[in-house]
């Protein structure tokens, strides 16, 4: 299988400080790849580099065989920012319809995306009037409506109840089974268990990549939270 994302020696400075210190990563096509790490560790920065909106100091980011952010990629990736980024003065359906139109997609894609995030009953509501969780799901719908080859989701399940979270993760796996690569950040470890591949970062340094089972085996514990802590401590001791 070809790599969907290849990152080599990625260095990023933000606000005069080094935020990513030479990241290397290869992610397989059709996998759900979880990016995990504490707040401020550089997850969003890494995702921004992959979609091509982050100014980078050094290194290369290759996505689906093209340099990140290059024109041929723009119709093939969907990006959900961490803070919901949709038009607050438009309804849910108007927002999703606009993003769909940018990818030459129409009514059926719009209905499907709104359905997938469980907002079918609120499609006609102006997004400014939605609850926080609904608002962020509307933003998610605008990313998945693109039916992209690579879906980059920055903490898509924050603020959702357990049932919805479960449904969303099942949906992500359906998409992945259909060949979509999903790069998703989270800082909730129980979600990490549902990823095919994990990328742990801490203070801009890659701590570990591998399957959830592999991570637990390496740390020698059954719980991902604990495994993460073990790896952090081991890393600090070294």
């Amino acid at each position: 299988m070809d790599a969907a994302i290849e990152i080599a020696g990625l260095v990023v400075d933000r606000g005069g400080r080094r935020v990513l210190h030479g990241l290397d990563l290869t992610a397989a096509t059709g996998a759900v790849i979880g990016v995990l790490g504490p707040s401020g560790s550089g997850k969003t920065t890494m995702l921004r580099s992959v979609v091509g909106v982050q100014r980078v100091r050094a290194g290369t980011v290759t996505v689906l065989g093209h340099p990140a952010g290059s024109r041929p990629l723009r119709s093939r990736i969907g990006y959900m920012t961490q803070a919901p980024s949709i038009y607050g003065d438009l309804t849910v359906i108007e927002n999703v319809r606009y993003f769909a139109s940018l990818y030459r997609l129409g009514t059926s894609a719009v209905a499907e995306a709104i359905d997938a995030v469980g907002l079918a009953d609120h499609a006609q509501r102006v997004t400014r009037t939605l609850s926080g969780g609904q608002h962020s799901r509307a933003s998610l719908a605008c990313a998945i409506v693109a039916r992209p080859d690579l879906l980059v989701l920055d903490e898509p399940t924050v603020g959702q109840d357990p049932l919805l979270r479960d449904e969303l993760w099942a949906y992500f796996h359906d998409l992945a089974a259909g060949g979509t690569t999903i790069l998703v950040s989270s800082h909730v470890m129980d979600e990490a268990n549902r990823c095919d591949e994990l990328v742990l970062i801490r203070e801009g340094v890659l701590l570990h990549t591998g399957t959830p089972a592999g991570l637990k085996a390496e740390a020698g514990c059954a719980d991902l939270d604990e495994a993460f802590l073990t790896l952090v401590r081991r890393n600090e001791a070294a």
Binding site: D13, R14, G15, V51, G52, V53, Q54, R55, V56, G69, R74, S75, I77, Y79, T81, A83, P84, S85, I86, Y87, G88, D89, L90, E94, Y98, F99, S101, L102, Y103, R104, V126, C142, A146
Partner: protein, 245 residues
């Protein structure tokens, strides 16, 4: 630029405007109120009323669209939608011209309403056709949009964006010939006013007021305004960066 992406973006911006009733009301009603005020201010002095009304028909769309656009674009930046759009197939020029076209549509409605009122209710008279007055008003509105888009890239907050109004719009208002005819200004003021685009649209309007047929000077002035619009949009495009720190 791509016709389909441009059309989607225009439709989206007009949709936002449609949901924003207070702004629509402001854009449509405010010129009417102010023009009526001017009418009664200059009661009994018809030549001054004629000149002031004609010039104001060109200035309203400029000022209003400048403010509306710089805030709309700033929201596009601060809400993260701009960054997101830049990861989609939509191009920078689709976004900028999308704003230009959408607000040109809004300005046409505004221009038609305000001009109609000025002619039929307030007694404005011009030697040239009404259609040209509306055309120049729309060109002015688009100039406001283009400068608003450009200025918004230098503002971080809506508060700062509003402050560009006095900085960019007021000097043009003062020097465009509304208060004092440009020929009567001190030399250095005239020189400044020569490099401000609004001076040309005011001159074009006064040409329509004084001549039955469109004059060469009017077309030249309109051409200058359109060139300024294009220049501001291109500069705006250069300030739109796909990658940020």
């Amino acid at each position: 630029m791509h016709a389909r992406l441009l059309a989607s973006t225009v439709a989206r911006i007009l949709g936002q405007l449609r949901h924003d009733r207070p702004t629509v009301a402001l854009v449509l009603v405010m010129p009417i109120v102010l023009l009526t005020l001017v009418k009664y201010m200059f009661e009994g002095n018809d030549p001054v009323f004629q000149r002031a009304t004609l010039v104001m028909l060109g200035i309203f769309p400029f000022v209003l669209m400048f403010v509306v656009t710089s805030i709309a674009m700033l929201r596009e930046r601060s809400s993260g939608t701009l960054e997101r759009l830049l990861t989609t197939p939509v191009g920078k020029l689709d976004i900028l011209f999308g704003y230009g076209l959408a607000f040109a549509v809004a300005a046409t409605v505004q221009g038609a309403v305000a001009t109609g009122l000025a002619y039929w209710l307030l007694g404005l008279e011009t030697a040239g056709p009404v259609g040209l007055v509306v055309l120049i008003a729309v060109a002015n509105a688009v100039l406001g949009v283009a400068l608003g888009l450009l200025c918004s890239s230098f503002a971080r907050t809506e508060f700062q964006a509003v402050q560009f109004m006095p900085a960019v719009a007021f000097p043009q208002l003062l020097l465009c010939g509304l208060f004092v005819p440009r020929e009567e200004m001190a030399g250095w003021l005239q020189a400044i006013s020569t490099v401000l685009p609004l001076s040309y649209s005011v001159e074009a309007l006064l040409e329509v007021g004084a001549n039955t047929d469109p004059t060469g000077l009017m077309w030249r002035d309109l051409g200058i305004v359109v060139a300024c619009v294009a220049g501001a949009l291109v500069l705006g495009g250069l300030t739109l960066r796909r990658r940020s720190a």
